[in-house]
């Protein structure tokens, strides 16, 4: 069992208080909503992909959720902004391995979520924004609601 401060690291508390890229994006060409039916948390993710559809030029989100889901979505937007779609998908896989305890370390700020693996009930919170990102990348219909697994 990790301690409380291992889960709620300063970076997470900061992103919860002041989430980055926290706005709707009228000029988005992709978007999706993630919904966790167990707790009612919602995250809406907007994307603007490059003309060839291969790069994430811009990304933003808004939603109702706990500190873990909000901070994770916020750091997700910072992590994938400017990346290729393929890189973003690989980053999600990497992130998922970290929060489920299958990998010890992750690149950049994603590393602050390593403590989540000790709180299995919170893995879905941490990955909600990422699931919404993937739904948007998969070009599911806008406004389509996806659930975490």
């Amino acid at each position: 069992m990790a301690t409380m401060s291992e889960l709620y690291q300063t970076v997470i508390l900061d992103h919860n208080r002041a989430p980055r890229n926290y706005r709707p994006m009228p000029e988005a060409n992709r978007d999706a909503e993630g919904f966790n039916p167990l707790c009612g948390d919602r995250v809406h993710v907007w994307l603007r992909l490059s003309e060839d559809g291969r790069t994430i030029d811009d990304v933003s989100f808004q939603g109702d959720g706990c500190a873990i889901s909000k901070a994770s979505s916020s750091i997700m937007t910072q992590t994938v902004k400017g990346k290729s779609v393929e890189e973003a998908r690989a980053l999600f896989a990497e992130f998922h391995d970290v929060v489920t305890g299958r990998a010890d370390a992750a690149r950049g700020k994603m590393a602050v979520f390593a403590g989540v693996s000790a709180f299995p009930m919170r893995v879905k919170c941490a990955s909600l924004g990422w699931h919404a990102l993937r739904a948007a990348l998969d070009e599911r219909a806008p406004e389509q609601v996806v659930s975490t697994e």
């Binding site: 409380m4 889960l7 709620y8 919860n16 167990l38 009612g40 948390d41 500190a67 709180f119």
Partner: protein, 418 residues
């Protein structure tokens, strides 16, 4: 809320909480290196030795299938099963033991009434009324039957404090109403609904009433016959009994008029390949080998609650609720959700800067178990304008020291997220 009154001295000191706690083995354990503080009994209560021992003893000395063998052991098992039914009839205030049907729990009890009693009577345009504070298990079964029959659902509103608006409810009850479904105690807010008055309103219009008694059974004295409830559903696991068992009380004439929902062994009088005739109540509504040991455990749980005394339990929990309300209200940024004058055992709250899940996790790291979420009452949460709440709920075994631990933990959460 009164200030630091010496509530301990003022309480009707009938419940020996230390002795009660000693009956629950799990309460002596630790969680994350701290003494376990279990404040989620509204989701499911912990189990006393008396219940665990009764089940074990039954398996070790009296177990066989019921209503089957000519041998002594089967007769003994049947007697134990029937005795549990008689205990539940007494516990609920039923006039007859055969008015008590064993089910898997409240959810199955409500679905049984929906499919066996309401559905065959439902015509297009008929109405089913329930209230805005119902648990999903007292909403979804009605949606299923209404959709199948082309019937209409009507929802009685609640106030911002979490009380049913009785005038509005009364106005919804009419000629086409086939059933009113209402919780005795709200699982999300703790509101104790004025059941006698509500049943009176419904009966005045000839509407039968199903009571979701899941949250009431472990907390309040019950008398279904005096209340005039037509159906009353409750679960064993919320009243110190095992999981997977519960009961449906139904007035004899209603149960007699019900169609079996499940067919199988034990519910028939005779079977040919063409047709079957039904066994008398209650076996008709209990197809297949039931959860026999679970029923025995539930009977032991009911006896345990009766021995502690429901008035004493209610008084103890009320004192804890009042104290917890006072402690949490004093923490900056905490808002109590559900402020009806009559409440039982449940304290729901939200915090300005802390999401309920984070409150739950912070408390978990201190060994304190509370529920965070929508409490299977999403429409109610929407009505009250919250996505989720944190909910502490109390049982006979909880103490003021545990309320203090809760309040200190909530204060810590506030500081962490400030």
């Amino acid at each position: 809320m009164a200030t630091a009154a010496p509530a301990r001295a003022a309480a009707p000191a009938a419940l020996d909480v230390d002795a009660v706690r000693a009956d629950f083995p799990i309460l002596g354990t630790t969680m994350h290196g701290r003494p376990l503080v279990y404040l989620d009994s509204a989701a499911s209560s912990q189990k006393p030795r008396q219940v665990l021992d009764a089940e074990r003893r039954f398996y070790e000395t009296s177990y066989a299938n019921i209503h089957r063998g000519v041998y002594e052991l089967s007769a003994r098992a049947t007697e134990a099963y029937d005795a549990a039914r008689a205990t539940m009839a007494r516990f609920l205030g039923a006039a007859h033991a055969h008015e008590v049907v064993f089910t898997r729990g409240t959810t199955e009890s409500i679905n049984l009434v929906a499919q066996g009693f309401v559905r065959p009577r439902l015509r297009p345009g008929d109405e089913i009324v329930f209230t805005a504070l119902e648990h999903h298990s007292n909403i979804v079964p009605w949606q299923l039957v209404a959709e199948a029959a082309g019937a209409v659902l009507r929802v009685a509103p609640v106030t911002a404090a979490g009380e049913i608006e009785l005038d509005a409810l009364d106005a919804l009850l009419g000629r086409r109403t086939r059933l009113l479904a209402v919780a005795h105690v709200s699982n999300a807010l703790g509101t104790v609904n004025p059941l006698a008055r509500i049943i009176e309103l419904a009966h005045a219009k000839g509407v039968p009433v199903l009571v979701d008694g899941a949250q009431a059974a472990p907390h309040l004295p019950l008398d279904v016959a005096a209340l005039g409830a037509d159906f009353f559903a409750c679960s064993s696991h919320k009243m110190y009994g095992p999981t997977g068992i519960g009961v449906l009380y139904g007035r004899e004439e209603h149960l007699e008029a019900m169609a079996p929902v499940q067919g199988g062994g034990d519910m028939i009088a005779s079977v040919t390949f063409e047709r079957s005739t039904w066994a008398p109540l209650p076996a008709r509504l209990e197809a297949g080998t039931p959860h026999i040991a679970g029923a025995v455990g539930l009977g032991a749980a009911a006896e345990y609650v009766e021995r502690l005394g429901r008035e004493a339990i209610a008084a103890h929990e009320h004192e804890l609720l009042a104290y917890a309300t006072e402690r949490l209200s004093a923490i900056r940024g905490v808002r109590i959700v559900g402020t009806a004058p009559r409440k039982a055992s449940v304290l729901s709250f939200v915090m300005d800067a802390v999401h309920p899940h984070d409150v739950g996790t912070v408390l978990d790291t201190q060994g304190i178990c509370i529920r965070a979420g929508h409490h299977c009452a999403q429409p109610l949460m929407a009505r009250l304008g919250v996505v989720a709440t944190a909910r502490a709920s109390f049982a006979a075994y909880n103490t003021r020291a545990e309320v203090d631990a809760l309040a200190d933990g909530v204060e810590r959460a506030r500081e962490l997220f400030a």
